[in-house]
């Protein structure tokens, strides 16, 4: 067995590309995948979370079929994200998922039930059958969105870790005010995003209803976002250190506010595609801000900062990171091409046919 001196501050040679080290590149790739996941699965989770607001059978069918051909492909981004984290930052992967054991299991089981509900709802015509699956579908979507937000909130706020980067708290720790606020904001964001998506995909009376819902969820999102922001500024001040130190970067939150403001404007004009793009960009910018705040930490430990996991002490070897970047470089254009092709195939308003749910 070959043995080598090995400390948390590694002393191997860091490779760089365009002046940025490879670990940071992989952090960017991981962030991009997570943003992709949030934008894509965000709209179908949001559509699920607002499902019970639609009352008529026909409306519910159309709403489900709007996401029908897409949700499965969207979920794959989660799988890619998990792989990207495991591959590039195995220490963070191990710490995060063993720490978030209970919320993550709830999240996973939510995902299963949601898929099951989508598949099974249309298989029997009885009203009780469909109603039951509608409730399962909606509740699962809400629980998934909330638990995603809860975990994000905890990653942003930091977890107590020991020197081996292992979580030392228990599951009640996760329900801190910041994380709960982030969870609600995530749900609101997805519901807004999903409502806009559905409005874009529907016609007639359902479309009018969804237009109203889009407006309401936008208000819901803005309110919860503002509360979360103020709470963070007041009680978790270190989370805004980055922007305070670098005023130039304030352009990012500013851009995001413009994006959010653009949503009701486009909704009013009836330009749903632009509204949808705005909400997608909002999600991306929100995650960019999170990334800037936490970087270089993947998992911060406020009680014991030395135990925190960074993109350096939690990363795979330079060789692996290099291989990963090559894989991403080959894979990303491929995935982008056929994802666009699939979305292009299913563009336009939903039409029910014999293959529909």
């Amino acid at each position: 067995m070959i043995r080598m001196a090995f400390t948390s501050e590694r002393n191997y040679k860091m490779y760089t590309l365009l002046g940025i080290d490879l670990n940071t590149w992989w952090f960017l790739v991981f962030g991009a995948v997570i943003s992709g996941y949030a934008i894509l699965d965000g709209f179908d989770l949001g559509a699920g979370a607002l499902h019970l607001f639609l009352k008529k059978e026909q409306s519910r069918r159309i709403a489900m079929n709007a996401i029908g051909p897409l949700w499965d492909g969207n979920e794959v981004w989660l799988v890619i994200g998990g792989g990207a984290l495991f591959a590039g930052f195995p220490v963070a992967y191990a710490a995060i998922f063993s720490a978030f054991y209970i919320p993550f299991m709830v999240f996973l089981i939510g995902l299963i039930w949601r898929g099951v509900a989508i598949e099974f709802r249309s298989k029997e015509p009885m009203r009780w059958w469909r109603k039951t699956w509608d409730i399962v579908y909606c509740m699962a979507s809400i629980i998934i969105s909330l638990s995603l937000g809860l975990m994000l909130g905890n990653v942003v706020g930091g977890l107590p870790l020991n020197k081996d980067h292992e979580f030392t708290g228990d599951w009640l720790f996760f329900f801190n005010p910041l994380s709960i606020l982030v969870a609600i904001t995530t749900l609101a964001l997805f519901m807004m995003h999903g409502a806009i998506f559905l409005t874009m995909k529907t016609e007639n009376r359902l479309y009018i209803k969804l237009h109203l819902l889009s407006n309401n969820f936008t208000i819901f999102f803005v309110v919860s976002f503002v509360i979360t922001t103020f709470y963070t500024l007041l009680y978790v001040p270190h989370l805004s250190d980055f922007f305070k130190a670098r005023p130039g970067y304030f352009v990012i939150p500013l851009l995001m506010i413009l994006c959010i403001a653009n949503i009701p404007r486009q909704l009013k004009k009836g330009k749903y595609r632009y509204a949808f793009i705005s909400s997608a960009v909002t999600i991306a910018l929100l995650l960019v801000m999170v990334a800037l705040e936490v970087f270089p930490y993947l998992l911060y430990s406020p009680q014991n900062p030395a135990a925190s996991i960074t993109v350096y002490n939690g990363a795979s070897s330079q060789k692996t990171v290099k291989i990963l970047l090559i894989i991403a470089l080959i894979g990303t254009p491929l995935v982008a091409t056929y994802t666009s092709f699939v979305f292009w195939t299913f563009k336009g308003k939903v039409k029910l046919d014999e293959m529909s749910y």
Binding site: K56, P90, A94, F97, S98, G115, L334
Partner: protein, 470 residues
């Protein structure tokens, strides 16, 4: 119960349940490509009906495969944190490649496969079918590479000590083409194709027995029988190659597979038997010296037995490993026998008159499933006590901070969810099979002379009648 056993039970249960589905997607994927290719080539609508029918079944299987597969990916992190840190550098790149090259391909094009009939041309649809099949093949590549690396590590070095020790890649291609990956990948692929082929055989045999949809069932049966015959024979070869690899790379595992204890004597090969691990004896029907012949080509050559390994470095459940391994072989031989028998009667032109044979085929869907599960149980239990052969023990691979109660909580949840999921799967599968390979629009075209079913109407609260989707 202690955390290690619970975590192992959880992993075995969730992966075993998951592994019902991906092999079916791979196998059905091949059948879909063949059928749709025949449809495009001949223009015969029979094949179109068949392919549409199997796409509906494929979609169901794929859906459950994804749902249960997402869990697998994160279970490494939740239950096996030390393992994840240890192998992340190696396992991770394979998993990332799998996500980006395989899953995205598969699920992206699946939407077109199911919902795109009217939106794309037949050629683009066929292209999508091929992409889905390729995606499912790729998805097996990376996971089998990662697992093979655990069996026969290569292209790495160890960095760090104790809790912080981990394997790092030194040579990517040596890691990918480690000594067992090619043999095992071929073995897994073919087993998966057999799972799909026997499912098609099984459903069509049932139709033939009930004299339903014969115009579609007979040609579909023949396509699947051809696939089953070719690949079950090929499997004999890859199986031999895999066993040969185990003999050279994992001697303790080989000894456990055949219940072989004494290193000095010649090693026997058992057809059926029982291992008494307490008295270190194996009884059963055997070919004397068979294992020696397999390994060295000499019936009297000695083969290292279990006694050559320290008790804490050999599998503890020798009898289970032995039984799973032999069950897999028996099942494999049955598949060869059955498909050859079917081909014989096909050649004699009496295939569809043999009702007894059709009854056997109707249940044959279980054979590859049993074979797959037994094979993996033998492979994984045979590797114990190691999670990475010779490097990391399973007992050291756990998440340190996860308690038995957390695992029990999730295990109970998974058990409940999976029971419901499996019941619903059977219910839906049955429904689709009962509905048959005929689309409503074309029903009278196929069942000439029979009364056309009315489309099932359902009452809609809006007062609009909509046709039920099946």
């Amino acid at each position: 119960m202690d955390v290690e056993i619970l975590a192992r039970i959880q992993f075995a249960f969730t992966i075993g349940f998951h592994y019902i589905y991906p092999p079916l997607s791979i196998g059905l994927g091949l059948v879909l490509v063949i059928m749709e290719g025949l449809f495009l080539k001949t223009g015969n609508r029979i094949y179109e009906h068949a392919v549409r029918f199997w796409i509906r079944i494929f979609a169901l299987i794929f859906g459950i495969g994804v749902a249960t597969g997402v869990i697998m990916e994160f279970e490494f992190g939740t239950n096996w944190a030390t393992y994840s840190k240890y192998v992340g550098d190696i396992f991770g790149s394979a998993l990332a490649a799998e996500g980006i090259f395989a899953f995205a391909l598969e699920s992206g094009f699946l939407g077109i496969l199911i919902f795109g009939w009217k939106r794309v041309s037949p050629r683009v649809h066929f292209f999508s079918t091929i992409m889905v099949f390729l995606g499912s093949l790729f998805s097996a590549v990376w996971i089998v590479v990662a697992n093979s690396w655990q069996q026969t590590p290569a292209g790495y070095h160890i960095v760090g000590e104790g809790l912080n020790a981990r394997a790092e890649i030194t040579d990517f291609w040596a890691m990918v083409f480690n000594p067992s990956s090619v043999d095992r990948l071929l073995h897994v692929w073919i087993a998966a194709i057999l799972a799909g082929a026997f499912m098609v055989l099984s459903v069509n045999a049932w139709y033939i027995l009930h004299k339903k949809y014969l115009e579609i069932a007979r040609p579909s049966f023949k396509i699947a029988l051809t696939v089953a015959t070719v690949f079950s024979l090929l499997q004999l070869y890859t199986g031999h190659r895999s066993a040969d690899g185990v003999a050279h790379n994992q001697p303790a595992k080989l000894a456990a597979l055949e219940g072989h204890y004494d290193s000095s004597s010649r090693a026997d090969m058992y057809l059926v038997g029982y291992v008494d691990n307490k008295h270190q004896k194996t009884m059963g029907i055997k070919i004397p010296g068979g294992l020696s012949f397999l390994v060295h080509g000499d019936f009297n050559a000695p083969v290292p037995g279990l006694k050559a390994f320290r008790p804490d470095e050999r599998p503890s459940q020798v009898n289970s490993v032995f039984q799973f391994y032999h069950l897999m072989i028996i099942v494999g031989m049955s598949m060869i026998g059955l498909s050859l028998l079917g081909s014989w009667f096909w050649w004699k032109k009496t295939l569809f008159d043999k009702r007894w044979l059709m009854w056997i085929f109707a249940f044959s869907v279980l054979l590859p499933q049993i074979g797959n599960q037994a094979g993996w149980f033998a492979a994984e239990m045979g590797r114990q006590p190691w999670v990475v052969y010779g490097m990391l023990k399973t007992s050291d691979a756990l998440s340190k901070m996860v308690t038995a109660n957390q695992i029990i909580f999730s295990l109970v949840l998974f058990t409940l969810v999976y029971i419901v999921l499996f019941a619903l799967f059977l219910f839906l599968l049955n429904k689709k099979i009962q509905h048959g390979p005929v689309d409503y629009g074309a029903r009278e075209h196929i069942e000439e002379g029979t009364k056309r079913d009315n489309p099932i109407l359902e009452h809609d609260p809006d007062g609009i009648y909509i046709r039920k989707k099946l």
